[in-house]
């Protein structure tokens, strides 16, 4: 399929997976903020460094493999405990850290959305045989 091949080239699939990751991480951060005063609640997160390492390895593998044989859909990391200082109510919250992480995560999400938009835009102009 032509469309399939067009969409699976370049960094499109990678950006889509990063977008899924950012959405899932945002959900966990929202849950942590919702439970900021819940006694005994342990803050959750996704392993960002682990995810990025897996992406790097997969990009390397993709370069060395024939086109269309390597995808990014199966790359994921498990949910981890955010760690940090434990308060007297046994909650390991750090609201500043949570808000910073959520802002960074939203920026990452918007960045990959822009990359995908640009890519879709160039495919569209190629299909229309017109620039702009």
């Amino acid at each position: 399929m032509l469309i399939e091949r067009l969409l699976n080239q370049g960094n499109g699939p990678l950006a889509a997976q990063v977008m899924r990751f950012a959405a899932a991480r945002h959900k966990l951060l929202a849950e942590n903020i919702a439970n900021v005063s819940t006694p005994g609640y342990r803050n959750k997160d996704l392993d960002v460094a682990g995810f990025q390492q897996m992406l790097r390895d997969r990009v390397q593998l993709r370069r060395e493999s024939p086109p269309g044989t390597v995808g990014f859909d199966d790359i994921w990391t498990e949910t981890i405990d955010r760690g940090g200082l434990l308060f007297h109510d046994r909650n390991n919250r750090s609201i500043e850290q949570l808000v910073t992480d959520s802002a960074k995560n939203a920026l990452l999400h918007n960045l990959v959305v822009e990359i995908l938009r640009k890519q879709f835009g160039s495919i569209e102009s190629a299909l229309r045989e017109r620039i702009g």
């Binding site: 903020i33 919702a34 819940t38 959520s102």
Partner: protein, 133 residues
């Protein structure tokens, strides 16, 4: 992504309920009688929060229970008070205004944090929707 909005909404509802109990405590700080007129001071109430895991699998937070604070009432020597006991002491609710104020600030900050999170969620959803447009 819509789940993130539901999580935020659950936090708003929980912290609003918490704020309601605090408001009720502050309003009843000098109440020495029950609703039916008996001499019984108002007992301080607390909202207990717990993580939520409903059938739809949407996580968040909820008020698990509103419990009465079992700590002793404040005894104040006021022999002329109609609700004073034989020794002249009036039992007032076990409410400390300073503690209620601190709890109120915490509830209000947690509420604001959830609103900020929901704003971020909306911004992310909007940027995703721009992919279609």
């Amino acid at each position: 992504m819509f789940t993130s909005l539901d999580i935020g909404a659950s936090a708003l509802a929980a912290h609003r309920t918490r704020m309601d109990t605090i408001a009720s405590n502050v309003a009843n700080i000098s109440v020495t009688r029950s609703a039916d007129g008996r001499i019984e001071p108002f007992r301080r109430r607390m909202a207990l929060l717990a993580p939520q895991a409903d059938a739809a699998g949407s996580p968040g937070v909820r008020v698990a229970q509103i419990v009465a604070d079992p700590s002793p009432f404040r005894s104040v020597y006021e022999p002329g008070h109609p609700d004073a006991d034989e020794a002249g002491y009036v039992k007032y609710p076990n409410i400390d205004l300073a503690m209620e104020m601190v709890n109120m600030m915490e509830a209000s900050r947690a509420y604001e944090a959830s609103v900020t999170m929901m704003e971020t969620t909306k911004a992310m959803l909007n940027s995703s929707l721009r992919l279609i447009a």
